[in-house]
């Protein structure tokens, strides 16, 4: 199986601190992957590199069938290529309605002129309503997203991510601030999404990871410590020492 995303030998240094050390990572085009690791392991920095926010000092990041070099592209181009991202802290446009937030994310031409003359079609409206019901915000469409609860903002951001119809979803700690029922719903959504696309989930919560039931990559001090099924990695003595044993 060919890989959708291939990260090889990447390193990043922040003010002398090597946050990512010779990291390599691959994911297929319809795969669910969990990334775990202690605080400061470099999980968010990894996502920053893939989405173009942080430029690595060395290494390669290639994408898609034609192995495009992502390091040459800016954030917007990478997003247009089909990489969507959910941030660790929920980041939605708080001054705008849930509807406007979702509509902005719905897959449509992103240029300024196209956007200026764009008026929502019936199809796009239906799409927004579908997404809203999927994330349980049907009744909140006309509310300002700033008024939502923390968990609802997480949902909204997941909805925006799905609306972009990316080929790769990078999801940073989606379950933080959610109730148990909401967490279960989130796992279902992510597993469903992973049937047709690649999904990378960063999560601290082991129960959540277990429910995802997928291959797990353990990051530690900026590089991969172990990779495999959850049972396999949790049996690894090194992993137990740096992460689980605390």
């Amino acid at each position: 199986m060919s890989n959708l995303l291939e990260v090889s030998g990447v390193s990043v240094t922040f003010d002398g601190y090597r946050a990512i050390r010779n990291l390599s990572f691959q994911i297929g085009s319809a795969e669910l992957r969990a990334i775990i690791g202690p605080n400061g392991a470099g999980k968010t920095t990894f996502m920053d590199i893939v989405t173009g926010k942080t430029r690595p000092d060395e290494g390669r990041v290639t994408w898609g069938e034609r192995s495009i070099n992502l390091l040459k592209m800016n954030e917007a181009r990478i997003a247009q290529e089909g990489i969507g991202r959910k941030f660790q802290r929920p980041t939605v446009f708080e001054d705008q309605t849930v509807f406007a937030n979702l509509l902005m994310a719905v897959r449509n031409p992103r240029g300024s002129f196209a956007c200026l003359f764009y008026r929502p079609t019936a199809k796009d409206r239906t799409r927004v309503e579908e997404l809203a019901s999927e994330i349980g915000l049907s009744d909140a469409l006309s509310r300002k997203s700033g008024e939502l609860s923390h968990g609802q903002k997480q949902w909204l951001e997941i909805g925006m991510l799905l609306a972009q119809e990316p080929r790769l979803l990078l999801v940073d700690e989606p379950a933080a601030g959610m109730t148990l029922a909401e967490r279960e719903h989130t796992t279902d959504l992510l597993k469903e999404a992973a049937k047709t696309r690649a999904v990378v989930v960063v999560e601290h919560d082991m129960e959540f990871v277990r429910r995802l039931d997928c291959k797990v990559t353990v990051l530690h001090e900026g590089s991969v410590l172990a990779e495999g099924s959850l049972d396999h990695v949790t049996a690894n003595p090194q992993v137990i020492e740096v992460y689980l044993g605390r």
Partner: protein, 409 residues
């Protein structure tokens, strides 16, 4: 721009109605219509105020909606004025020269006419040759095109350089100040070809028009009101749809907008250039009413005033910008015109011509601290839309983002 757009934005209709009533009333009370209640010079002041409202609208789009605190938009306003001023001076001088040469024994050649115009215009700076930048000044349509093109291109090039290197916040504001300062220093030079510190004058006299200034002032009042009305509708349309969503997103959290796949730089460049062109149109209508333009008009302080007007009126809402510009500039005219009685304190007399700026600065500080929504916020009081309590959190991480107090329920 469909009917439903106006129906969904009732404030646009209210604004247009108010503008129409204002313009009609001023017209009926003017000297041109014989009623003499409003003097011609005051009609001109009101017409100029409408142009200032238009440039404030541009400032609100770029700052209030897109979060770019440009402190250089008066450069575009001034350039618009210079561009129309060139035609006005050329065409009027051409008529004068033609008159004086009409009785000459030998009919003058075209070159002689042009030379005579040059001597008339550039005599004050000790020259008589037309600099290359006057190449289109003989033609009204071409020079009108320049009104749009010159400021538009300057904004495009400046914006491209600045946004491409991701200059934001205070650094961008400083850069825009530097731009307007550089422009004004350039214009001050006699070699710039725009008559140095003399500037362009006599702009109130329209070439070939025999109507009195009383009538001409009404024409310009209507033209300014029309431009403001169109500018308001277009601005409201621009910010109403998804484009408006995106630029407000850029104001509050531009990184997030990038990760949605929108090219933030492209949007900023679009709005910067678009508002520069609006500012230029406003300037092109303003200076024929003012009669004179000189490099002092594009001094850095002018653009700062513009930001103050929008802040006092309330940024992020179009009518706020208009109200702020109208209110502050009219009050300013009143204070600096020497009509306000001085306040004798016994040991010192407060003369408002000198103290007006202090008062303005103080009100700016007070508005920023106590009522960040500005005058426009009064409308929220009436409609009961109070800012939601967000426990001190602004609406996004960016410097220009909407502050907690600016929010609307």
């Amino acid at each position: 721009m469909s009917r439903s757009f106006l129906l969904r934005n009732p404030s646009v209709l209210i604004f247009l109605a108010a503008l129409a009533i204002f313009t009609l009333s001023v017209t009926l009370l003017s000297e041109a219509f014989g009623s003499d209640v409003i003097s011609t010079s005051f009609v001109k002041t009101l017409g100029k105020t409408l142009c200032l409202c238009l440039v404030a609208l541009a400032m609100d789009l770029v700052w209030g909606y897109c979060g770019i605190l440009s402190l250089g938009h008066f450069a575009f306003f001034g350039l618009g004025g210079y561009m129309i001023g060139m035609w006005l001076m050329y065409a009027r001088t051409e008529l004068i020269v033609a008159d004086s040469l009409a009785n000459a024994a030998i009919p003058p050649t075209d070159q002689e006419v042009v030379d005579a115009i040059g001597t008339q215009i550039f005599g004050v700076v000790g020259s008589s040759d037309f600099p290359p930048i006057w190449a289109f000044a003989h033609s009204l349509p071409l020079q009108l095109l320049m009104v749009l093109l010159v400021p538009g291109l300057l904004a495009l090039v400046f914006g491209w350089l600045a946004f491409r290197s991701r200059v934001t916040g205070v650094y961008l504001s400083i850069l825009t100040q530097a731009m307007t300062l550089a422009l004004s220093l350039y214009l001050f030079q006699n070699e710039s070809g725009l008559r140095g510190n003399n500037g362009l004058s006599g702009l109130q006299n329209l070439p070939g028009v025999t109507a009195s200034q009383a009538v001409v002032s009404i024409w310009f009042l209507w033209a300014s009101a029309f431009a403001l009305g169109v500018g308001y509708v277009v601005s409201a349309w621009v910010v109403s749809g998804k484009f408006g969503s995106v630029i407000r997103g850029i104001r509050d959290d531009e990184a997030r907008v990038r990760f949605l796949g929108y090219s933030v730089e492209g949007y900023k460049l679009f709005i910067f250039t678009f508002t520069a062109i609006i500012a230029a149109i406003a300037g092109a209508l303003y200076y024929p009413q003012a009669g004179i333009i000189n490099p002092g008009e594009v001094a850095p302080i002018a653009s700062i005033y513009l930001a103050v007007w929008v802040a006092i009126g309330g940024r992020g809402r179009l009518y706020g910008a208009v109200i702020g510009a109208a209110f502050v500039s009219l009050v300013s005219t009143w204070f600096t015109g020497g009509q306000v009685p001085s306040v004798p304190l016994g040991f010192y007399t407060i003369d408002w011509v000198d103290w007006w700026l202090v008062l303005l600065g103080l009100s700016f500080v007070l508005v920023t601290l106590l009522a960040p929504k500005g005058i426009g916020g009064l409308f929220d009081l009436i409609s009961g839309r109070l800012a939601p309590n967000r426990h001190g959190a602004d609406y996004g991480p960016d410097k220009g983002s909407l502050q907690e107090e600016e929010g609307r329920g």
